[in-house]
């Protein structure tokens, strides 16, 4: 059968998923459960907690996040390309290197503008 080698990985994925779930469930019979309003409050180094943490977070590095999304895709292509590199024709090698060069040029341009965008 195709993909026979992945059956143990599938079996262990189920075991790994059930490992924390079962341990948390079994631990229920060993641990105490004393609720208390003070205990359940948010921990802020002993002070009375101020406000919520579910806020609009100032995401300082969104510039890098955008570049990351682009480059993650480039790396996926590259990883697939290097596996078959030894069997490729010369045209396929050159085209992929040109593609990498173009994305790197884009990266260079983004970093030149980064000083303006970085907050």
């Amino acid at each position: 059968m195709l993909g026979d080698e992945y059956v143990p990985i599938g079996i262990f994925a189920l075991i790994a998923l059930s490992f924390p779930v079962m341990t948390f469930f079994i631990g229920r019979f060993f641990r105490p459960h004393n609720d208390n309003a003070l205990k359940n409050s948010t921990y802020e180094c002993g002070e009375v907690p101020v406000g919520e943490a579910h806020i609009q977070f100032h995401f300082q590095y969104y510039m890098f996040a955008i570049l990351f999304v682009v480059f993650d895709l480039v790396v996926v292509f590259l990883i697939l390309w290097v596996q078959v590199y030894l069997d490729l024709a010369i045209a396929a090698k050159v085209v992929m290197l040109l593609f990498l060069l173009l994305t790197l040029l884009g990266l260079w341009y983004a970093f030149r503008k980064e000083d303006v965008i970085w907050i």
Partner: protein
């Protein structure tokens, strides 16, 4: 004899002697309730049933071996950390069970410190585990209950999943997937989602900042990590750990001595070691739980067994990261003959882990903007240079081997 053939033999034996009679008895006992898809006893008699059972045994053996190694890694970390700080670390010995017995029997324990605390201290892990499972799990009132429970499950199960994915040698392998290293990297990169989830769900400012830092860290190291691995995949032409190790062992142009990948791809090796250190969140890169700045980072609101499992999962990730580094760059399980390959593999893995522990107590933590700078402006160009060097080497290799045609010395 490989692990799988051993497990297959064991599966055949257990199926014939135990499981088939039990299921036949059970099916005879409750005829109306038999499985509509077919009898389990019949399925266990077929080849597919035996193979599935063998795989089940194999992953469980690999899991047990991984957990044993995990205990040793935690013990090593504690002992070496203690030695660096000029103290002794955990010293609990088996004799301390006597105190426990006296305590349980009701008599006053005779505290014999010199006898009871003169061991190697490996029992401290057991004591910590018992302590953690007996502690209360606190869910903050303001937390998002569902995500607060799901975050640890994502993080811990994806880390435990790593344990069977890498082979200890070509015979001791629970999974021999052709895309093994890609599966490992996929399992590695699930964890930041769990970190971000539990950091956000805690509704605590420290947790929130920790989760966001985890995302920033993911952005900075993931691409150099994969690019530094790309050079190794190019040399081997495969993602299979067995093929990669065989390729390193076969590249013996230097007087017949195998040249492991860390010599021709030295830049890639350095980049990979920095990035895998960021991936497993060990000390110079433990931004998500910076215990000096954020209280415990994204684990602030977690308690009891969940917190203990976070620590455990981090050590599993450390062990798996060192194993990946060994497979990719340090020749895997290859080594001189009289020592078995599994021992060679574990020796290399433990050397890397000891190196990491020394780093942990030697260097300060870096800042978020510094890790972004490091990842994008230094490691990314370096890993690309490494890839270009590898492409150059592969292109000239046929000519190179003709020019250098050295005699086989060994």
């Amino acid at each position: 004899m490989s692990l799988f053939s051993f497990c297959k033999w064991m599966a055949e034996w257990t199926a014939q002697k135990m499981l088939i009679p039990i299921f036949e008895f059970q099916e005879g006992l409750f005829p109306p309730f038999t499985n509509p898809a077919g009898s389990i006893a019949d399925w266990l008699g077929t080849d597919g049933g035996i193979t599935t059972l063998a795989w089940l045994y194999a992953v469980n053996i690999a899991f047990a071996v991984g957990m044993t190694n995990l205990i040793l890694v935690i013990h090593l970390e504690r002992k070496i950390a203690a030695r660096i700080q000029d103290r002794r670390g955990p010293m609990l010995s088996f004799r301390s069970f006597r105190e426990l017995g006296e305590d349980l029997a009701g008599s006053a324990p005779s505290w014999k410190f010199k006898e009871n605390y003169a061991g190697i201290g490996i029992l401290q892990n057991l004591a910590d585990g018992i302590k953690a499972i007996a502690k209360e799990l606190i869910v903050p009132a303001k937390a998002d209950k569902f995500l607060f429970t799901m975050g640890p499950i994502i993080f811990i199960s994806s880390s435990v999943f790593l344990l069977v994915l890498f082979p200890l040698s070509d015979r001791f392998a629970a999974s021999s997937a052709p895309a093994g290293l890609m599966v490992i990297m996929a399992a590695f990169s699930i964890a930041p989602i769990g970190v971000l989830t539990s950091g956000w769900a805690s509704n605590n400012k420290y947790s929130m900042i920790g989760g966001m830092r985890s995302a920033a860290q993911l952005m900075s190291y993931e691409i150099p990590l994969l690019l530094s691995m790309a050079g190794v995949f190019l040399m081997a032409g495969s993602y299979d750990p067995v093929v990669i190790v065989e390729q390193q062992q076969a590249s013996s142009w230097f007087f017949g001595i195998p040249i492991w990948n860390f010599i021709p791809q030295f830049i890639g090796f350095i980049v990979f070691m920095i990035c895998i250190l960021a991936e497993v969140e060990r000390v110079p890169f433990d931004l998500p739980e910076a215990e000096a700045e954020l209280v415990e980072g994204w684990t602030t609101e977690y308690s009891g067994i969940r917190y203990m499992f976070f620590l455990m999962a981090e050590y599993i990730r450390g062990f798996a990261g060192a194993a990946v580094a060994t497979i990719l760059f340090l020749g895997g399980w290859a080594g001189p003959w009289p020592i078995p390959p599994e021992i060679w593999f574990l020796t290399k893995v433990y050397l890397i882990i000891i190196f990491w522990i020394f780093i942990r107590w030697s260097v300060p933590r870096i800042r978020t903007d510094q890790i972004l700078e490091l990842g994008w402006k230094k490691l990314l160009p370096l890993s690309l240079i490494n890839l270009l060097i590898v492409i150059f080497m592969v292109e000239i290799y046929p000519y190179f081997s003709e020019i250098v045609s050295l005699p086989e010395v060994f």
